[in-house]
Amino acid sequence: MATPNLRIDVHHVTRVEGHGNIVVDVQNGQLKQCDLEIVETPRFFEAMLRGRPYGESSHITSRICGICAVGHATASLRATENALGVVPSEQTVLLRKLNFHGEMLDSHILHAYMLVAPDLLGVGSVIPLAKSAPEVVLRALRMKKLAGDLCAALCGRHTHPIAMTVGGFTHFPSREQLGELRERLIAMRPDVEATVELFTQLKLPAFERDTEYVALRAKGEYCYIDGEIASSDGGALPLTDYRKVTNEHLVRHSSAKRTHHMRESYMVGALARFNINFDELHPKAKSAAAAIGLKPKVTNPYLNTAAQVVEIVHCSEDAIRLCDVLIKRGLTWEEPVKPARLSGEGVGACDVPRGTLFHNYVIADGLVTGANCIIPTGQNLSNIEGDMRALVPTMLDRKPPEITLALEMLVRAYDPCISCSTHMLNVRFE
């Protein structure tokens, strides 16, 4: 029998980063309200950057998020470098890509094993799993530790990176460290295979809703840094046109801004990257996708976690390749490239674990005078609500706790990073 009246109010969704509420109101079988409220405190990073020396920007903005600290730092450095005419060396580009894989692995492992898997195994957190399935938890911790150690070798620590600076690095791993990381990444392959195996067995909910998918794209690589902004609805724009994609606006129930591009909403993140850049995945990652049953274009948002597992395979294999390249060409202790000028405007973009991230700075005489950061979770919020509005009417014959769990799992599937997403946008540059 259909539920004529239903009220769901999940105060502070758990196992996500930051504070969000799910509010659903159904009266006489009609959906009256279906919101993902963002109740995180406003944080005002863009306002705080104003007046700071450009060199501090990446250190301040990495503090937006503890999970994607390397991503924020990288996007910030690219924005500053584009503003000040800095072209980083080939070695810097390789090290940044390797560092990025460390963060991608860390974040995806955390999300797949510790935040999502408990739902699929019917427990409230990873802690009971330590007793019931210790090998699964130990595997997750082992893989996550290697990801963290990779970032630590390159930039001091994953949260918050130290050695990344405008124009390069202030510290370099030794050849021995790189060799050891390479060996450990190779030794991790059975754990990566077991992760793929686990996600071929776990059943993610069935739900289809086609939407627009947006990700960075570059020829010849599965793009995480720079490139152009590509849409599954066709076309691509240069990074400097990011505002034409994001079209930010405010809604009353959220301290995070909403975005839309060609449709009412779009999706960013692992699933969007998978749909747009599938051809560029490492062959082993393509095999993993086939094993899990993913084939572009995937339109079930719950499968974002499965796409993350495919990326775990890609990033670990590409990290091995990058270690090989760096060892072969040899590391030199390079001084960071000096800025060509001290005033200018620049955009930096990265596809961080949760999707496309933009930083845009205006710098005058070495001080930041304008800043705009657009965060993946902020871009996904409208799409999550679109999914919720499509999902709830199909579930009205189910019991409220079941509907609530399906909605919580949907929100978690996007791996939202809410403390990132709040407060991000300024409307004017001064």
Partner: protein, 259 residues
């Protein structure tokens, strides 16, 4: 043997990176889970316990509506620990305290600024009594585990009260002053193993000032090395704005930020 002590994690204005570092600490010391019973850790678990002896609070208090939940934690917990620079010092969130907050809200939220409640960001100790602090942005995982051990043994955690330079020398790092870079090492509390200078960056002060920092002497040393006093003291407005503004209010008048 009594039941395992119950501990809870809470977060206010922050990046949740210190709680992630707690997760990383468990990678190093999984046996910690045998010694305590975690009843609340929203970022990692759905279970929500309301009965706990030790509360770890990450993040600053940055709006009036956060004060009531912070006070409620104090009423329940026997011990409250500030976790990381935002909770301990106010941290990066306090940069905005130097600006006109009405203007800051308008800058980010435009004509919808009134929707978003805020006030000057502050450390948790500005709202309730705090029993201990684990400094740093983020916290040091070894120091976290040391602190938990001491709390479980009923001993007060101790923070080093010597400046960072001591640790930096023991690491045999080349002094950044000799490389022409400013650094807050002489006045900032040690305990991080000088991780930033070791990775080529100067100390930004995330662990807070040593007791009675000798700022006059710092100025002399900077002048000796031909480094800018203004630029160095301006670095204090990255993590230490709340403390700097307190010093100014107390009439020390010094240091003034350069920007």
């Amino acid at each position: 043997m009594s039941a395992k002590p119950k501990i809870a994690f809470y977060e206010f204005t922050s990046c949740e990176g210190c709680q992630l570092t707690v997760v990383d600490s468990l990678q190093l010391y999984p046996e910690l889970l045998e010694a305590v019973d975690i009843v609340r850790f929203r970022e990692a678990m759905s279970e929500m316990g309301d009965d706990y002896a030790i509360a770890f609070i990450e993040g600053s208090c940055s709006r009036p509506s956060d004060e009531a939940p912070i006070k409620a934690i104090r009423e329940k917990a026997a011990l409250v620990v500030a976790l990381g620079a935002c909770a301990h010092l106010g941290g990066i969130n306090t940069i905005r305290n130097r600006h006109d907050l009405g203007e800051v809200r308008r800058f980010v939220y435009g004509d919808k600024a009134e929707w978003y409640d805020t006030y000057p960001a502050r450390p948790i100790s500005a709202v309730i009594k705090v029993d201990a602090a684990i400094p740093g942005c983020p916290i040091d995982r070894h120091e976290f585990v040391r602190t938990v051990k001491r709390l479980l043994q009923g001993r007060a955690p101790e923070l080093p009260d010597h400046p960072l330079c001591v640790e930096c020398k023991l690491k045999e790092n080349v002094c950044l002053y000799l490389r022409g870079t400013t650094c807050l090492g002489p006045i900032v509390r040690a305990g991080c193993d000088a991780i930033c200078p070791t990775y080529g960056d100067s100390c930004e002060g995330c662990r807070g000032l040593v007791p009675n920092p000798n700022i006059e002497h710092l100025k002399e040393v900077l002048t000796e090395h031909g480094l800018s006093v203004d630029q160095t003291l301006a670095k204090m407005t990255q993590f230490l704005t709340y403390q700097v503004m307190e010093m100014e209010a107390a009439g020390h008048g010094d240091p003034q930020p350069a920007h």
